[in-house]
């Protein structure tokens, strides 16, 4: 059976195209609804825009904060680990070696920390209006992209200072950043959901970040580890991201294939598991927050 061409949704009577919202006492976990997220894309856009705008409006130094954080860490690491402890840096000047790692790390850790607090901070919205709850941590993570872009520009500047010119390899930065984003979102939404129920999470997050920092080759190269430990170590997806960044930006000789492969698998798994957990508890947020 075929329909006449005129019978499209635009010309059909209003009640035929009218959307039905079904409210049910839910059982089990809700699926990750990409179509619904797409419908709410304008809200995601405005929340990202709000977060980045407010961040720079409220502080005296504004945009400078985004640069200051990794830059000062670079100085401290260069002095203590590079100069005093004489930690090897795969033949790259130590400040460059550590800063190239701090760029994805700062993006990752800030995104994770802010996502973890996002649901509790936005409780006013959650108790008043409906929208897919995952938008809150998601837009928080995405708003970190602005900071990321700024710190990356500084990295380009540093490369020029050290007379290291970018090659096509640099393009690998994009998929690697996506891995950092997936990891931050996966862990961030998981922490955000737990934070609604257990307010202790906010004290745990700084610890977690600190341990994670030292479990990632930022101040030292992963070449310090011998096999099979090096492969096992790469279960931390940030190992693949950071080593990948160094290879892409600083042109370090060995391409970290295994680490990046493991990072891809682990970060996707973390993302799916985190979002799944979030969806399984999100319906209680408005009642618990």
């Amino acid at each position: 059976m075929s329909f006449p061409v005129a019978d499209t949704p635009e010309t059909a009577p209003a009640f035929a195209t009218r959307r039905v919202i079904r409210i049910r006492a839910a059982r089990g976990s809700r699926a990750f609804d990409l179509a619904e997220l797409w419908e709410y894309r304008d809200l995601i856009y405005f929340l990202v825009w709000r977060d980045s705008k407010v961040r720079y409006k409220q502080t005296v130094l504004g945009v400078a904060w985004a640069i200051l954080q990794p830059l000062s860490t670079m100085l401290v690491f260069s002095l203590f680990f590079g100069r005093l402890a004489r930690i090897p840096s795969d033949g790259v000047p130590y400040p460059l070696f550590t800063y190239a790692a701090l760029v994805p790390w700062a993006f990752f850790s800030n995104a994770m920390i802010q996502a973890a607090n996002s649901v509790v901070l936005n409780q006013q919205l959650i108790t008043r209006v409906y929208f897919p709850r995952v938008i809150i941590p998601l837009s928080t993570v995405l708003s970190g992209a602005v900071d990321f872009a700024i710190t990356f520009v500084v990295l380009l500047g540093l490369l020029m200072v050290y007379d290291l010119w970018p090659t096509l390899r640099m393009l690998w930065v994009v998929p690697l950043s996506v891995l950092a984003l997936l990891t931050a979102t996966g862990v961030g939404v998981w922490l955000a959901a737990l934070n609604v129920r257990y307010r202790d999470i906010r004290y745990i997050v700084p610890f977690l970040t600190q341990f994670w920092l030292f479990a990632t080759p930022i101040a030292y190269p992963s070449s310090l580890l011998s096999e099979p430990w090096r492969t096992l170590y790469a279960v931390n997806p940030m190992v693949g991201v950071v080593e990948g960044f160094r290879w892409a930006v600083l042109q370090t000789p060995i391409r970290p294939d295994t680490a990046v492969l493991i990072a891809t698998v682990v970060s996707i798994a973390l993302f799916l598991a985190g979002v799944r957990y979030f969806h399984s508890v999100e319906r209680t947020f408005a009642d618990v927050v």
Partner: protein, 434 residues
Amino acid sequence: MTSTVIRAQGLGKEYRRYTLGEGINRYATLRDSLTDAMNSVVRGRRRVSTTFWALQDVSFEVSEGDIVGIIGNNGAGKSTLLKILSRVTEPTLGEADLHGRVASLLEVGTGFHPELTGRENIFLNGAILGMRRAEIARKFDEIVSFSEIEQFIETPVKHYSSGMYLRLAFAVAAHLEPEILLIDEILAVGDAAFQQKCLGKMDEVAGSGRTVIFISHNLDAIQRLCPRCVLMDHGRIIADGPTDAIVSRYLSSVSDTAGPEQWIELTGAGRPANGDVRIVAARYSGDARLGNRVATGGPLEVQCVLESNRARNLSSLAITIYSRSGTKLLNADTIELGKSIPIRSGRTTVGIRIEQVHLNPGSYIVGIWIGDSIGHALDHIAEAFVLDVVLVRGQGFGKAAHGAVACHFDVVPDLASSASEPRLGDHVRSEADS
């Protein structure tokens, strides 16, 4: 033919409360969960959790274009019902279908950010309420002119007065174009002229065939706007029909818990209970003609049962009324009257009567205090009960309904040409003379 746009079937909502010794703890901590797990493994004991049904077996249908008011005492389940219909929370039982685009206004200005300008907040708030970016851009000028704050549109809203803030927030909300609109007690904002404008906008909404569900303590507004009304009590719908009949039934009925004329047990309320005198129970009553409800501008009498270990004179009995957000609005303390209250050993019932309560319609929290002559508390219950204030008849669109406190006022015309204009020089001289 009108079609059904909202159909609710057996909706129920159960809330769980965890009780830890005295008082209610809303947030669990990891420690609690860990010790719970330990206790249940080792001793088979668990933390006490009590459940209650905020909503029970609620079924109703709303046809396209209906404007339905929902009324009922505090705790009747009105807000819970609206939260379920707007999908903020999920029902424990039952189901509901809504046909069409839904917008819910459980509060005006949701998501307003103080650091952002009026312009930026219009876009942010519009997106939060479910408008598309292009839609907001198209209606932007209309929203700004409706709000009447054109000249401040580039100013961060933290510099706005509360009136300006509400105007802007309402202006955004008023330009939503959903097929179903759910509103919780927000209409009454701004000054009288702005209220008339909002009323006009609401009439427009009603006339355009949109379906509206509206919760309010402002019975006057309900009677003006809603031809049909639903009365709720204890999480159930107890009456549904023409508004005038339902409102008079509501006003003549007496609610049986924490409502007017019922004793509220206060011995269990969390507080340091080492005093020699204790507040055991309290009740309140308002206007006898309104089923003892408290009306804006009407009387309020709060009676307390005190228990003392000996006969004594009590210097201070005070009733404090707080807004829902915790602002102290009113404090009636007998110490200001300079009269001490004789109480017997055992139980004595005493009360405070306020002739006119100038509170606008809404829910308020009442605290009770008893103290000695030098201001030490003998007993103090910060949140004894919730008081509902209703508005029965008003002028215009809800009398002076912006803010918590009502007052009588009028315009003083043309001050400059008035003969009674005070002159500074006269004033200074008269003071120097005395």
